[in-house]
């Protein structure tokens, strides 16, 4: 039982208390805290250049500064849109578990988590609607590839952690980037502050769930977890390369543009850079045997 593991883990219960207290201390009213100018200037970077999907690629040589700015605008709207959809999905999973027997111990923390994520979803959606006049969608279909098994909660929380770490890499950089507009920096800074608690929680919980899972798991089951989560990492990375964004930025063949970028030699370096922290964590905990994402 997950609940027994958590009850018995004094260290984790201490962390839960501390993170919940911190949530209360840091609480802010998101509906008041932001300044939303009527418009944001078009002729600027909306996202740090080295975070845009074309960074380091040959294709940027064909694009002028004006088009790069436009591209960065739509890329940023795509990034916040991914947050909106990612948050919806993680809220569903956490809500499904709060105050159930297994998750009684972290339920106090889950209240903060759910409340904060709802607010994050609001300010990300607000940014998209105000400045991009839309929230990008992604095709969704196919059965959930999380095999319903002993590993289900492990995979769910590992996914949430991977997603939050990906977003946080972008938030932390953009919060610091003095070349960006204050509103953009503020959105990223505030999210980064809240996410540091969520990530600290996720790292602890995923390690506990994995230690429990590995005791009864076969080598084959362990490899399935690794394979699935590695696919999830790449899937998340690839969602940053949205053909709709390229179309909106006036790029001629958006699908071709996307595959050029994803197949370019710089892709792996970019992917490893973005996921450096979670990959180290996943290897350290033994969930991954290595950081290599592209195994046959």
């Amino acid at each position: 039982m997950v609940s027994d593991l958590i009850e018995a883990n004094e260290r984790f219960r201490g962390i839960l208390d501390r993170l919940s207290t911190k949530s209360i201390e840091d609480y802010y009213n998101p509906y008041r805290v932001f300044e939303w100018p009527e418009t944001l200037p078009e002729n600027m970077w909306w996202m740090s250049p080295d975070l845009t999907s074309t960074h380091g690629s040959e294709v940027v040589r064909d694009l002028g500064e004006e088009q790069l700015h436009r591209l960065s605008k739509y890329e940023s709207v795509n990034f916040y849109s991914l947050n909106v959809h990612g948050i919806r999905e993680l809220l569903i999973e956490v809500t499904r578990r709060i105050h159930t027997t297994d998750f009684e111990a972290p339920s106090e923390f889950f209240h903060h988590f759910i409340g904060e994520e709802n607010e994050h979803m609001w300010f990300f959606a607000e940014f998209c609607s105000r400045y991009g006049h839309k929230i990008y969608k992604q095709p969704r279909g196919g059965n959930a590839s999380v095999p319903a098994s002993e590993a289900e909660s492990l995979l769910v929380f590992a996914r949430i952690l991977i997603f939050e770490e990906l977003v946080d890499y972008y938030n932390a950089k953009m919060a610091q980037d003095t070349g960006l507009h204050d509103t953009i920096r503020q959105v990223n800074r505030i999210h980064h502050q809240d996410e540091s608690r969520h990530i600290a929680f996720g790292r602890e919980l995923v390690a506990i769930l994995f230690d429990d899972f590995r005791v009864g798991a076969s080598e084959e089951e362990l490899r399935n977890v690794e394979r699935y989560l590695k696919r999830y990492v790449s899937y998340s990375f690839e969602s940053l390369f949205n053909p709709q964004v390229y179309r909106d930025a006036g790029i001629e063949d958006p699908l071709e543009f996307r595959s050029t970028l994803l197949n370019s030699p710089t892709r792996h370096e970019f992917e490893q850079r973005v996921f450096r922290k979670p990959l180290s964590y996943l290897v350290k905990t033994g969930i991954f045997r290595d950081k290599n994402l592209h195994v046959a």
């Binding site: 969608k137 992604q138 095709p139 969704r140 279909g141 196919g142 059965n143 959930a144 958006p254 595959s259």
Partner: protein
């Protein structure tokens, strides 16, 4: 609309086989989703592969999942005869 030149369903089949070489040949009528040849993590890429091969753009808001279940259904829905 994309500017990709229309191709054939073979590009879609090749992409699936590339991901699951052990499942080759992929039958026209096999349910790709039930049989886990496509899952939620590969669906996005799958849609792009179909768009690219067919030259049609797919509106994600009005997607009917049954149009994606089999190669035969995909051909009917997205590849003009």
């Amino acid at each position: 609309m994309t500017s990709t030149a229309p191709g054939t369903i073979d590009a879609v089949r090749d992409w699936i086989v590339g991901k699951h070489p052990e499942r080759s040949p992929v039958d026209q009528h096999i349910d790709l989703i039930e049989n886990r040849l496509i899952d939620s993590l590969s669906f996005v890429e799958f849609v792009f592969v179909i768009e690219k091969a067919s030259g049609t753009s797919i509106d994600v808001d009005t997607v009917d999942i049954d149009d994606f279940r089999t190669l035969s259904a995909i051909e009917k829905a997205f590849f003009p005869a």
